[in-house]
Amino acid sequence: MLVLLPLLLLIIGAYIAYAAGRMGASRDNKLLAGATASVFTALAFIIALLIASDVWDSATGSVEYTIGSGLLRVDALGIFLILVSTFLTLMVSIYSTRYMRDDSRLEHFFPLLLLMTAGIVGIGMATDLFTIYIFYELMCIASYVLVVFRKEKWDAVEAGMKYVVLSAAGSAIALFAMALIYGQFGSFDIDVIMGEAIGGSMAMATVILLIVGFGVKAAIVPLHTWLPDAHSAAPSGISAMLSGIVIQTGFIVLLKFILVFEGVTAVWQVLIGLAIVTMTVGNIMAFVQFGSRRPDLKRILAYSSIAQMGYIILGVSVGMAYGIEAGIRGGIFHIMTHAFMKGLAFLCAGAFIMRISTRNVKRMQGIGYAMPFTAFAFVIAALSLSGAPPFSGFMSEWMIFKAGVDAVVDIGWIGILIALIVLINSVISLGYYLPIIRTFYLKPKGRLLGAKRAPTAMLIPIVILATITLILGIWPELGLQAVEPVVDFFVSLGGGF
């Protein structure tokens, strides 16, 4: 029963938050929906922690729960996903309680947020490809609505339109691939499918369609085009969720499907190639954003998310292709560190935007004096994202990088080339994060009307995330405890190992 609880809590929480939101439709009670949502997410997170210790201690590496004829199973990867997503949701819902206070229809916002997380949690528990798909769609649909949540603003509507078209088309293509999987195996049960050896052109067609279909959510170039629009137009809390965990979940879903074909090295090679293109394009685009006339802070962060997805995909794919543990460890750990640091960056950006009502970086000149805590937290996030020690981003990036060099034995000097590209990318990322930091601390131009300390309810998650980013940089072992079982899980699958 314990296993089912996080999912149940989130879904029940969604209903109660809606009811609470309706009750608190008057202005004084606007906190109610957010508070309810936060409480339920916090409960879900705590229970997830309890499950986590069971999962890591159990001999099989997973905890099962039978419901009717169905089976839910939380394995190392699942609990990792659940922990990171519920924690980030908790931060975002505390933050949004204050950040969204002036918006109407909060009784819709928080339930949708919880449902989106419920989708991610469900993906972590499913043992059946079709169940994964249902939860994936739950996550997607909730995120469509959340992106367009401020429908009175044109850019939200425009971004939502592009997002829904691309993402729904991707889902449909993935669904087509699922039909092909069913045709080949006659089942969606992962336990049944995994053992079967498979190859041939049908398998390859499935792989192509899967990568293309789920690649939309994972923001793989050239299917990344929705991301900068959606991330910059969504409310900042949602941007943090999208960048921090939703696109990574897209990749994990892709991973779960592709693991069926994991014996085929070529699949992982495809992903390595795409990852390199993705990170380079993401970084270069973020770099030119800063050079434009009105650089949009959230758009820069969004492009940087594309680049970071590149790192994650690269790490995991190199690991799976050539049996390099460091790659998987780096990739999965990077999902965790990136969720916290990019979440942090977006929450800080939201605080700036709330105070001075602009996303233009140039108009944020001198904001470091008006909003010292938030700006400092942003500096931590930015340095961590650009891979500077002693912050968490550095720790995960060098592990990914190490994987490239480890692969030298298998793929010759191309491994070094991959490693070099990763490193050159991290230099480029300095090229846009450092100027942002510079702008924050230059002399204010006097246009920072209304810039003052961020509200406490927003500062709490910011401070917590900043602290985690620092702690995971100094003592990465803390985070690796959750990552290590995932690495073991992948190693146990065989493949390149």
């Binding site: 270069i284 060098w398 060099v405």
Partner: protein
């Protein structure tokens, strides 16, 4: 012994970082309190490091080793290995760090963000000490990046000044390019070492393990790693062509220029090369590459120093040039490791002295342009004396510290019959003497035409100057101590230099003639400067040197290339719903073609 070694080492590793937290918590308190806390912590750190001296330099001493499990999952161990080489660097970092802290009390008085300043300097000292004491290359790299981060944050310390902020960014980005070399080198060594049967992950990153198993590492890994390490050193130690960040870094407060950009951080590259020399020495062409890299850097930077009007930038070029000597010295072979370390120590002391003197002058008259200084001899007598010591040491005048180590380099190069490299370094010694005289006479000679008079340096500033000034005269005496320490620890080709023999050897060798010749020629160039400026070729050289030999243009070109690509890629982000979906077709085709090429389909 007062303290157990392992407790001592743990304290040295932890204390500076604890102090960072303490200073950060005290940021709201008064200026004096913050400065006081900073000075006390740096004093304790320095004392603790000095307590290690008897254990390392005593007769029959052995290395102090410690190891802390840091990331057990990835097999990363925080290993400590202390021998004379690492202790030498740690002594410089902690000792000069303390003097700079004392000096800062007065120099930084009344500036905004002092808590940030002291916290960052303590973070820097701690990271630098850890960088040299650790035995694990990966840990070394982490601290290497942290000192880079501190350098960036301190160059941009005056955050409201756009020029300083840009200089910080340039320094961080350019050194980061060098860091690519270092990390690639580290992982190549790891990949090579892990192929030795029975090697664990922790061992493959351990410097001592790599040194003792150097012969077993496959040559293709070793050779590439050797050159990758040179690139790493190029970035941090400001060797051509990655040197151009250092002159710009002079936007930092002068204390920072003295500590980070003259005495300690820029030596990190030299340290890594010296430390790894026993591993790389078997790679063909590695030493030759270092000889030419160091020699050319020394020469080119000296030329740029000769035409520089800004006092601090001149000192920065001079630092680049002197770092070139140290790289050159390592290129002389394993025996050169000691010479390089010896020159590193002398240089750290006299260059920190010169920077701090420059700081006193800038603090007093508020300009960095040497042509606006003139005639400070009478107005700032103490600063004048100490700066004179520093200048003489830099120019390599006998009995001042710079002379001994530079002469040792010439001697070694001469006895190895390396003609062309020797010409390069002697030529740069000539120019070094010339720009030293130019600097001294511009700053102190003649009569000042300034409206307000300069005020002499306050006590908190001249006492550190006095200590360093005396150091600039006598630091070479420790050669006895250090060389025997190196010999005890089994550094190949290093022999103890008892002090008497050292003096006799120095003055009886042919190389001393080269040193003296260089000084005379330098003086000649300086006195004939007006007629020399007329020559066609020299005018051309002066023009090129003022432009920095086009290295800044090179950096800008790299940025422009990325930006050009970016603008092209940017057009692909049309924002059109229909065109976005073309991505599906594109991706299917891409993957299909790839699989086709792999022969999977």
């Amino acid at each position: 012994m007062l303290l157990d070694d392992s407790i001592l080492v743990t304290l040295i590793v932890l204390l500076p970082f604890i102090s960072v937290g303490v200073i950060a918590l005290m940021r709201k308190m008064g200026e004096t309190v913050i400065a006081g806390v900073g000075v006390v912590f740096s004093l304790i750190t320095a004392v603790l490091v000095f307590l290690l001296v008897p254990d390392i330099f005593g007769s029959g001493a052995t290395a102090i080793t410690e190891s802390y499990d840091w990331i057990p999952s990835a097999g990363i161990v925080f290993g400590i290995y202390i021998d004379p080489l690492s202790l030498l660097l740690a002594l410089i970092a902690a000792g000069i760090g303390f003097l700079v802290m004392v000096y800062s009390m007065k120099y930084m008085e009344g500036k905004k963000g002092l808590a940030r300043y002291y916290a960052l300097v303590m973070l820097f000292i701690g990271a630098m000490v850890c960088l040299v004491l650790t035995d694990n290359l990966l840990i070394l790299y982490i601290f290497w990046e942290i000192v880079g981060l501190c350098s960036y944050a301190l160059i941009s310390f005056d955050v409201e000044d756009k020029k300083a902020a840009n200089a910080g960014i340039k320094a961080f980005v350019v050194t980061r390019v060098g860091d690519i070399g270092l990390i690639v080198g580290i992982f190549l060594l790891y990949a090579g070492a892990i192929t030795i049967p029975g090697t664990t992950v922790a061992q493959a990153f351990s410097i001592q393990y790599l040194i003792s198993n150097a012969a077993a590492i496959p040559m293709q890994f070793l050779a590439l790693a050797a050159f990758a390490f040179i690139i790493g050193a190029m970035g941090k130690s400001a060797q051509l062509p990655l040197h151009a960040w250092l002159p710009d870094a002079m936007e930092a407060p002068t204390t920072i220029s003295a500590l980070i950009h003259a005495a300690t951080m820029v030596n990190a590259g030299i340290y890594v090369l010296a430390r790894m020399a026993p591993v790389f020495i078997q790679v063909d062409g590695w030493t030759t590459a270092l000889l030419y890299l160091g020699g050319i850097t020394a020469l080119v930077a000296a030329i740029m120093a000769l035409v520089e009007p800004d006092l601090k930038r001149l000192l920065a070029y001079s630092t680049i040039s002197q770092l070139g000597y140290m790289v050159f010295a390592i290129g002389l072979g394993l025996g050169g490791v000691f010479i390089s370390g010896f020159h590193l120590m002398n240089h750290a002391i006299f260059k920190a002295l010169l920077f701090l003197c420059a700081g006193a002058i800038i603090h007093s008259i508020g300009t960095r342009n040497m042509y606006e200084m003139r005639g400070l001899r009478k107005e700032m007598p103490k600063t004048h004396i100490f700066m004179l010591f520093g200048t003489l040491a830099l120019a390599g005048i006998p009995i001042f510290s710079g002379f001994w180590s530079k002469d040792l380099i010439f001697h070694e190069a001469y006895s190895l019959e390396l003609t062309i490299p020797l010409i390069l370094v002697v030529l740069s010694a000539v120019l070094t003497a010339a720009y030293s005289f130019r600097m001294y006479f511009l700053v102190f000679g003649g009569e000042g035409k300034r409206r307000e008079k300069a005020h002499p340096a306050p006590a908190a500033m001249w006492i550190p100057l006095a200590i360093l000034g005396i150091g600039a005269i006598i630091s070479w005496i420790t050669v006895d101590y250090f060389s025997s320490g190196f010999e005890t620890f089994g550094f190949a080709d290093v022999h103890a230099h008892p002090i008497g023999d050292f003096i006799v050897d120095t003055f009886s060798s042919t190389a001393v003639l080269l040193s003296l010749l260089a000084i005379l020629l330098g003086l000649g160039i300086y006195s004939a400067r007006n007629s020399l400026k007329q020559g066609y070729i020299s005018q051309w050289i002066i023009w090129a040197a003022r432009k920095g030999f086009g290295f800044n243009w090179l950096y800008d070109a790299c940025v422009r290339v990325v930006r050009w690509c970016g603008r092209r890629i940017r057009r692909l982000q049309t924002g059109d719903v229909n065109i976005n979906t073309v991505g599906f077709v594109l991706m299917v085709l891409l993957i299909f073609l790839f699989l086709l090429f792999q022969g999977v389909i």
